[in-house]
Each structure stands twice: as structure tokens, then as C-alpha cells.
């Protein structure tokens, strides 16, 4: 625990508060000093910690892969190169299995989402007080380490995917084909409004469920780590170790599901039969 006089509710809320930079109601820009100020900023607010960690991890991903690609050798592949090649093979296999169209962008997209989400989720396994107390020593009072426990990050990704779905739907089927798919599909043209309602809900549910699933899982995992951190120091390992080991499964599984659903949605956007 950070200090003795904190109640458990305040400790949890403090851990769930993002470092927010935004526009105050009186018009000037700055960092919020508590949760109430962050709430008053409303829409014009940036979660600096989420942006920082997701950019750093994205840069780390690009750096590692670029380094391995530059040093790649056919004669004597070394350990790290083999590891990355096995990841790429695994993703390639998945894309070949569930994507039937022709698009060179889908496999790199799947690789990016998978590795990036794995890296962001893995921040969950860093003990919950280390980075926030380090930041506290440097004068930053709020820090939420895991970007995927912030719905802004997961919705950002899923809305990006949604725009790609719309773009490729229109590109592959034509505007008429896409509108036709939305309006004529389950019940023929005499039930047009009903069809539009069904297909519209179906389309809009994709980004929402994609984002909320990832966010909810990571948020719940983080919540349980924070609750374990409320225990006395000498007993914490007995709960946090098993939960961390179980959480590795969730970290990889949720990244894998996100990637699989991205591939499936892109496949649906490329299918022309209707």
C-alpha cells in the first residue's frame, strides 16, 4: 500500500485514475489534480499515461522486429529470429485458415494487433505499485500502467478496425453492393427497414464488442491485482503468483481472440456473394 491512512476504496480509485491532460472548465489547459477535475474536463481530455505506454510499446514492437529483420540470416538463424519467425508463421497460418479474399494487408494487420495487444496486456503482469510509485517519486500523482484497461485505447483500436471494415466493404463490393447487403439480406426487399435494423445492429456491434471484451478482461484482471495488493506485504505472493500465472493465459487468449475476430471481420468485408 502507498501509505497507511488510505482506505481501500480510495486506494483502488487512485489506481484506476488516469493521468489526464485536458481543458479545464475555465478554458486553460493542464493536468488534472484529482478525479473530479478529470471528470469536469469532459471530452477535451487526453489520458497521457495510456498514450505514453501504448506508443512506447508500439515503438518497442517495431524496433524489435526491425532489428531481427536486419540481422536475419538464412545460414545461421539465431534464437530471437526463430522466435519471431514462429510467431509470424502462426499468424500466417491463422490468416490463411480464415481469410479467403485477396489482400496483402490483412496478415500484417493481424500481426500488428496481436503483438501490440500482447505487449500492452503484459504490462498487467508488472506489480501494480512499482511504476505508479516510481512516477509518484518523480511528481506524477496518477499513473495507470496498462493501456488496455483504458476503454479509450481499446475503442481507438476497434474503431480503427471498423473504419477498415467499412473501407474494404465499399471497395470490394461497391457502394451499391454494400448498401444492398445491409438492406436486402435476411428477408428480401419488402422488409427493408427491418433488414436495415438487423444488419445495422450487427455491424455496429462489431467494434463495440471487440473493444469491450478486451477492456473488460484486462480491467477485471487489473482490479484483482489491485485487490491483492491491499493485503499485507508478506502474504501477497500466495495470491498474486497464481493469479499472474492464470493471467498469462488471459493476456495471450484475449490478444489472440482480438486478432482472430479482426481476420474474420475482414473476411466478411471481402465476401461478395450477396
Amino acid at each position: 500500500m502507498a501509505s497507511g491512512e488510505l482506505t481501500s476504496g480510495a486506494y483502488i480509485k487512485h489506481h484506476l485514475q488516469n493521468l489526464t491532460y485536458g481543458k479545464f472548465p475555465d478554458g486553460h489547459w493542464g493536468f488534472a489534480n484529482d478525479a473530479l477535475e478529470a471528470k469536469e474536463m469532459g471530452f477535451m481530455a487526453f489520458h497521457v499515461d495510456t498514450l505514453f505506454f501504448s506508443f512506447v510499446l508500439g515503438a518497442l514492437f517495431l524496433f524489435l522486429f526491425a532489428m531481427a529483420a536486419k540481422r536475419a540470416s538464412i545460414e545461421a538463424p539465431r534464437g530471437f529470429q526463430n522466435f519471431l519467425e514462429s510467431i509470424i508463421d502462426f499468424i500466417d497460418e491463422n490468416v490463411r485458415g480464415s481469410f479467403s479474399g485477396k489482400n496483402p494487408m490483412v496478415a500484417p494487420l493481424a500481426l500488428t494487433t496481436f503483438i501490440w495487444i500482447v505487449l500492452m496486456n503484459t504490462m498487467d503482469l508488472v506489480p501494480v505499485d512499482w511504476l505508479p510509485s516510481l512516477a509518484g517519486a518523480m511528481g506524477i500523482h496518477f499513473l495507470k500502467v496498462v493501456p488496455t484497461t483504458d476503454p479509450n485505447a481499446t475503442f481507438g483500436m476497434s474503431i480503427g478496425i471498423f473504419l477498415l471494415i467499412l473501407y474494404y466493404s465499399v471497395k470490394e463490393k461497391g457502394l451499391g453492393g454494400f448498401v444492398g447487403e445491409l438492406t436486402l439480406h435476411p428477408f428480401g426487399k419488402w422488409m427493408l427497414p427491418f433488414n436495415l435494423f438487423l444488419e445495422g445492429v450487427n455491424l455496429l456491434a462489431k467494434p463495440v464488442s471487440l473493444a469491450l471484451r478486451l477492456f473488460g478482461n484486462m480491467y477485471a484482471g487489473e482490479m484483482i491485482f489491485i485487490l491483492i495488493a491491499l493485503l499485507p506485504f508478506w502474504i501477497q505472493w500466495s495470491l498474486s503468483l497464481p493469479w499472474a500465472i492464470f493471467h498469462i493465459l488471459i493476456v495471450l487468449l484475449q490478444a489472440f481472440i482480438f486478432m482472430t475476430l479482426v481476420i474474420v471481420y475482414m473476411d466478411m468485408a471481402h465476401q461478395k456473394e450477396h
Binding site: I12, R213, G216, M223, I224, L253, I257, T260
Partner: protein
């Protein structure tokens, strides 16, 4: 009074989420074993598919657990 309602809400949230997912994952596992016994050569493919569906089913109760923990310890506690 309000606090006891919050505790009840949190525990009902957790319990009902777990109930639904338990039935769902139970059926999923039973069908997986059935399929594996019928065609053992398909086990790798079935296992991947099972994990995908398990992740989908598992998400709902995990989210319920997270939210109920938040209600129990941060809002009520």
C-alpha cells in the same frame, strides 16, 4: 442500508455471470471431448476452435467479476 444493497448487487452480479458461463463452458468442454473421441485426428483444430469460443464465453463473467469487485470494494467499501 444502501451499502448492504450494493453488497447484494455485487455478489448477485458475480454469481449470475459465473452461473451462465459455467453452463456454457461445461457444454463446450463436453462437446469438445465428444468430438475428440469421435475423430481424434481433428484434436489440434478442435482445440484451437474451443479456445476461441472459450475466450468469447469467458469474457462475460470476467467482466462481471471486475465490475462486481469494483462495486464491492471501491463503491461500497
Amino acid at each position: 442500508m444502501e451499502q448492504s444493497i450494493l453488497f447484494l448487487a455485487g455478489s448477485i452480479l458475480m454469481g449470475l455471470g459465473a452461473l451462465g458461463a459455467a453452463v456454457g463452458i461445461g457444454i463446450l468442454g463436453a462437446k469438445f471431448i465428444e468430438g475428440a473421441a469421435r475423430q481424434p485426428e481433428l484434436i489440434p483444430m478442435l482445440r484451437t476452435q474451443m479456445f476461441i469460443v472459450m475466450g468469447l464465453v469467458d469474457a462475460v463473467p470476467m467482466i462481471a467479476v471486475g465490475i462486481s469487485m469494483y462495486i464491492l470494494f471501491a463503491v461500497a467499501g
